[in-house]
Amino acid sequence: MTVKDHLSRRGLLKGAAGTALVAGLGMPAIVRAQSDVIRFGHLTPRTGFLGPLGEYAVMAADLAVEEINAAGGILGRKVEILKEDSVNPQTASTKAERMVERDKVTCIVGEISSASCLTIAQVAQRTKTLFVNTGGNSDALRGKDCKRFMFHVESQNSMYVKSVGRSFMQEGLVKGKKWYSLTADYAFGHDLLSVAKRFMEANGGEFAGDDLVPTDATDFSAYLIKIRSASPDLVVLNLAGAQITNFLKQYAEFGLTFPIGGFGFDTALAWAAGKGNFVGTWPVVWHHLLETPGSKAFTEGFVKKYGKPPENQAWGDYIALKIIAQSMNELKSTESLQLVEHWEKGAKFDVLKTREGYFRDFDHQLMHEMYAVTALPADKVENQWDIFTSSGPVPGPDEPLDAIAATREENACTFPA
């Protein structure tokens, strides 16, 4: 709503101006003290349909910074993190610019919306400041829109499709089968749909139907009626945010039983759908039931601080900050360019999984294991969090980590000078 945007922006400006005035007049001591800290910028959607995931991102970022500082900070200096709501691509860009130019952050971390990732990356590239994307999935960000100063902890859409695609193949839901897909009508969804179509073409399946869903749609009854009459072999969701929860609740309500799965997913949305409503097989970059020592420690620390387990988005922001801190300490430098070069050389990191991860030099995508989770039947669910079982790591132990990522030919990236 235009009126709303307009009013909120004005209100925000006034509030910000007031705060700045008070801070400037009242607390010179703090301003002086700040020259001793290393500042990170954190941008992620806190409101809107991605807001629920942004909240996990913020909780994890706070936890990571707390742990980094407790371990002695970076180069003996304390880390301070500036966190803001990125709202939309335009606001994200403005805030990124302000963080770099006024607040002198050493790098920017975060984001979930692929569209906002792109505008932040443009600022990062122009100001030669490192940006680590923790939640934007679109292949385009690693392909035609790639930037030398942008790295991706979040997996690209191709990795999501290929990792859960393997589960669908094992269950015989691909070759000669018909899929019906619902796709979020924005950058992320379009990108995901094209990757999914490429996957189906390559593996001998076809689409019985595919509908684009406006991002503000809450009622899926009309889609459910269409799906029922098409009787597909698999219903595939390329949706994001609260829409996944809405869909799952209404899918159960209409009593549809076609196998279901998706290429975009977040555990928080499954928790919200609740047992019985949550069905299907889905890809995740990480989940709280992983048994590796690193994951167990992270989950324990998170539960202790917030009283509930972290979801996959939390892993992204947590691990990104940990990797940055580790690299800065190793390099004895906070210079963005040095980090970029260090990572491009294939530096390896503990990413809380069975194998170490690294950034691929030609598209800056983190190479790491992913998982396919499958909903437990309602009578097997013991508590509100542990509502799924997990596949082993994908790719498996005897495959290279880049087996599920888009190849150079599939998604070419040329870094702008």
């Binding site: 909120s8 807001g51 909240e55 009508d185 503000d216 749609a217 009309a222 889609y223 919200a272 609740g274």
Partner: protein, 292 residues
């Protein structure tokens, strides 16, 4: 697409609009009588849904079906008495700012108390299942919802058209000064209308919590289509709002049915544009002298 499938989509679309109706009726009532554009109306819907989740473990869905709307209505009266009442005679832009602020405060409060992720809530077991008529499928819960909504509409219509209370309210909409001159204080009627309108929003929250995701921004999500319904229907017109809600649901449903789902949201704005172009007062809008 077969004819039965199309027919099923038409029917589904007609019913779909009913969900906006409970919100839109309250919006229309409060604006008609008090001249307040209540942007916080969606927030009351959200509060209704959250209350249901909080209360259900103690009093069940049936209990919260009764208690939540009443609690929301009482909150509405409180806000009407303390805040709205100061803005009845001012430029509508002030009340717009007030209710916009209220909506933000409410959304943020819900976020602070319950967190941003959606809360889990399901249809109570007794109301699960589907209704099959030939090849038609409909959810049992939605048919119940429809019965409740129709009962609300009928009750509200009776109240406004057939009772002494309704006569005063309708007179107040047209000419509050004349009502005052006749020695009737509109104040209690304003409170009652706020309770009714806001209580209906709370009821919508209760009814939709089992099938929509319950999150802090759910109010902002529903308020825009509800406004579109009010504008298309025409201010002050009871049946206008009812017809518009059904029309909006139908247009959205049919866009999905014929394969233009991406344009289903845009279509309702186009519908509003066309209606305003040919009938600036909305489909059945009455001439309200003080708003012209």
């Amino acid at each position: 697409m077969t004819f039965t499938l199309f027919l099923q989509q038409v029917l589904n679309g007609l019913l779909d609009g009913v969900y906006y109706l409970l919100i839109a009726l309250g919006l229309s009532l409060i604006f008609s009588l008090g001249g307040i554009v209540n942007l916080a109306h969606g927030a009351f819907y959200a509060i209704g849904a959250y209350l249901t989740i909080v209360l259900s473990p103690y009093i069940g869905f049936g209990g919260s079906f009764v208690v939540s709307p009443v609690a929301v209505a009482l909150l509405g009266v409180l806000i009407e008495r303390v805040l709205f009442t100061r803005f009845y005679r001012t430029d509508p832009i002030y009340s717009l700012l007030l209710t916009f602020g209220l909506a933000m405060v409410a959304e943020q409060a819900l976020r602070m108390i319950f967190g941003a992720p959606p809360l889990s809530y399901s249809i109570p077991p007794a109301l699960r299942g589907q209704v099959f008529i030939g090849d038609f499928i409909y959810s049992y819960y939605r048919s119940m919802l429809l019965v409740v909504a129709v009962a609300c509409i009928a009750g509200l219509w009776f109240l406004l058209q057939k009772t002494a209370f309704g006569r005063v309210v309708r007179a107040g909409v047209q000419n509050p000064d004349m009502v005052g001159a006749l020695g009737i204080s509109l104040q209690p009627y304003m409170s009652a209308v706020a309770a009714l309108g806001i209580g209906l929003a709370g009821l919508a929250g209760v009814l939709l919590a089992p099938i929509y995701s319950v999150h802090p921004a759910m109010g902002a999500e529903i308020i825009t289509p509800a406004f579109v319904v009010v504008v298309i229907g025409g201010l002050g017109s009871f049946w206008g709002v009812v017809v518009a809600a059904v029309l909006v649901g139908l247009v959205k449903g049919l866009m999905v049915a014929v394969g233009y789902s991406a344009g289903s949201t845009a279509a309702i704005y186009l519908l509003m544009f066309l209606v305003l172009l040919f009938r600036p007062r909305g489909l059945f809008g009455e001439r309200i002298t003080r708003f012209e």
